[in-house]
Amino acid sequence: MTTTTDASLELPRPRKARATGLWRLWSSAQVRLGVTMLVGITILVIIAPFLAPHDMAAPVGRPYAPPSPEAWLGTDNLGRDVLSRVMSGGIYLAWMAPASALIAVSLGAAIALIAAYYGGWTDLILMRCMDVLLAFPGILLTLLCVSIFGPAPPLLVTLVVLTLMPGVARVIRGAALPLLRQEYVLWAKTVGTPGRVIITRELLPNVSSPLLVELGLRLSWSVAILSSMSFIGYGIQPPAADWGLMVAENGNGLGIQPYAVLAPILMIVLYTIGGALIAEGSARIIARTEGEA
């Protein structure tokens, strides 16, 4: 213990190489637009079920009726109000997608930083496990497990996490490896700072920008995977309203009542693009700062 304090007295602490602030990413118009879109959709999706003009589960007219003053977007395959269902249909995605993305990015980052910092066997074993997961197309794993255990939302979130986590781990490990040669990390090691502290205090803040890129990207992928699962019938189950499910339910009526399909599609598109904008904007800012350095 005493040696630690002695060493820290002798070695001048080097300055951090990079500013850690995520705020510089806010200067990107794309990031601002993406965040606004996601926040807007989330708020809308949470309050919309209370504002819906009709009961989303009860028929209001004949099936596939065109838009009318009664039902602004017409009715669906069972004569239910499309507008009310679109307004209620994002509630699952609104918590499942951010939850999947956040957990996947956190776990992926933790695994990546531990693997990168400790190296050797730890690195080999952790990253090889990630490779095995990557070797399995996400939709297959999800389909296989959902067919066994049934489409419970917590299981779906777990599966999306397993699908997205290995990719995050690879990217963040790549971003962390060069940091290990930085002076401030070498300094921390020399003065005997525990690995846990180096990882959380030195490495983590310096990969925060790539982490935000990953978060945006993985959020848009979670929405894609979750709505695809609903679409093929192994996600949210009827009679619940869900955008992916609505596309499947009303697909046959595309020729006569396209709004029943296009309205939920528009919502999925806006949601996925929100995440993609954050990822793209952040990546561009990072590339620009690295170009200047």
């Binding site: 197309p137 296989l144 894609a224 019938g233 596309v247 399909v261 999925i268 996925t272």
Partner: protein
């Protein structure tokens, strides 16, 4: 220490070249083995026993027991795994519970249809991505380039079933009726003889692929165009077309090849949803059917085949990236 690091045999130049490839293949086989074990265990933990599923809820207990012995379900789990894996290596993929026919029969048809769809999609995707990427790079930061970047971001983010459904709305139902919304292909026929049934599913795969690859082409071309080597060519007074096609493009293609192979792998993963959307008779829609019917042997077979194909292309991408 990574396995790939054991390559510095200076005395054996051939060995040191072959070792990384061999170790990669070995690792690949081990991973595939792990995947097959995962599939086997997952399928075995399906609620209910295969014997119960075949005989239905009203079967007598000793009937079920007899069938269990017949199917080898009374053996230890890992003997069952070895038998299953051994069977697959001999071309015996088990018997479908839904149809009562060998799984390999429908597997061959599904594989041919899926492979045709993927091949057609890739054959169109790769050259298109090259052209789009080069054009975007030529108009770098201009209007065309900006439109391209926004479009490609959108189509990369949006799930395949959304792209596919929009295509159906435009070309098959709501706007015009030029193409069929459902890809009907008789089991005995090749999909090539039904081009109209192939167009929409293939396009659904092509669009996001082109959007992803052409971004890489764009960056690669921009990088090459700023090198001294191209600057010299410009100063020598060579025509822009000559510079682009003879000097820039060959150098820009190199970094794209592994990515193209990766896209091939993604195509296989995405094929499940696309095939389901168009009811295209390939391995993807067959898998969804098998899951719906809880057809265990078929689920195992389809998952293993799709995972192997996916893995194979990933391996190629990796090998190409390494070179």
């Amino acid at each position: 220490m990574a396995v790939g690091d054991v390559t510095e045999d200076r005395g054996y130049p051939l060995m040191s070249r072959l070792m990384p490839v061999l170790s990669k293949v070995l690792q690949g086989l081990l991973t595939l083995l792990a995947v097959s074990l995962l599939i086997f265990l997952a399928a075995r933990s399906l609620r209910g026993d295969v014997a119960n599923m075949i005989l239905g809820p009203h079967a007598l207990p000793d009937q079920v027991e007899q069938l269990r012995v017949q199917l080898g379900l009374n053996q230890p789990l890992w003997t069952q795994y070895i038998n299953w894996l051994g069977g697959i290596l001999h071309g015996d993929w088990g018997t479908s519970l839904a149809s009562g026919r060998p799984v390999s029969e429908s597997l061959v048809i599904g594989l041919r249809n899926s492979a045709t769809l993927s091949a057609v999609a890739l054959a169109v995707m790769l050259p298109t991505a090259l052209v789009v990427g080069v054009v975007a790079a030529q108009y770098r930061d201009g209007l065309v380039d900006r439109i391209f970047l926004i479009t490609s971001m959108i189509f990369n983010a949006v799930p395949e079933f959304v792209t596919g459904t929009i295509l159906v709305a435009i070309f098959a139902t709501t706007v015009v009726h030029w193409l069929p919304a459902v890809s009907f292909i008789p089991p005995g026929d090749s999909p090539i003889s039904y081009p109209s049934a192939l167009i929409l599913p293939a396009t659904t795969i092509i669009i996001p692929g082109v959007m992803y690859l052409s971004r890489l082409v764009r960056v690669a071309v921009i990088d090459v165009m700023t090198t001294e080597y191209i600057q010299t060519a410009v100063l020598k007074g060579l025509s822009p077309a000559r510079i682009l096609f003879l000097h820039a493009l060959p150098n820009a293609i190199a970094p794209i090849i592994p990515a193209a192979s990766l896209v091939a792998a993604f195509t296989i993963g995405g094929v499940v949803v696309v095939e389901y959307l168009f009811a295209y008779p390939g391995v993807g829609s067959a898998l969804v059917d098998a899951v719906t019917n809880r057809d265990l042997p078929a689920i195992q077979a389809y998952v293993l085949v799709i995972a192997s194909a996916y893995f194979f292309f990933n391996l190629i991408a990796d090998a190409l990236a390494r070179k």
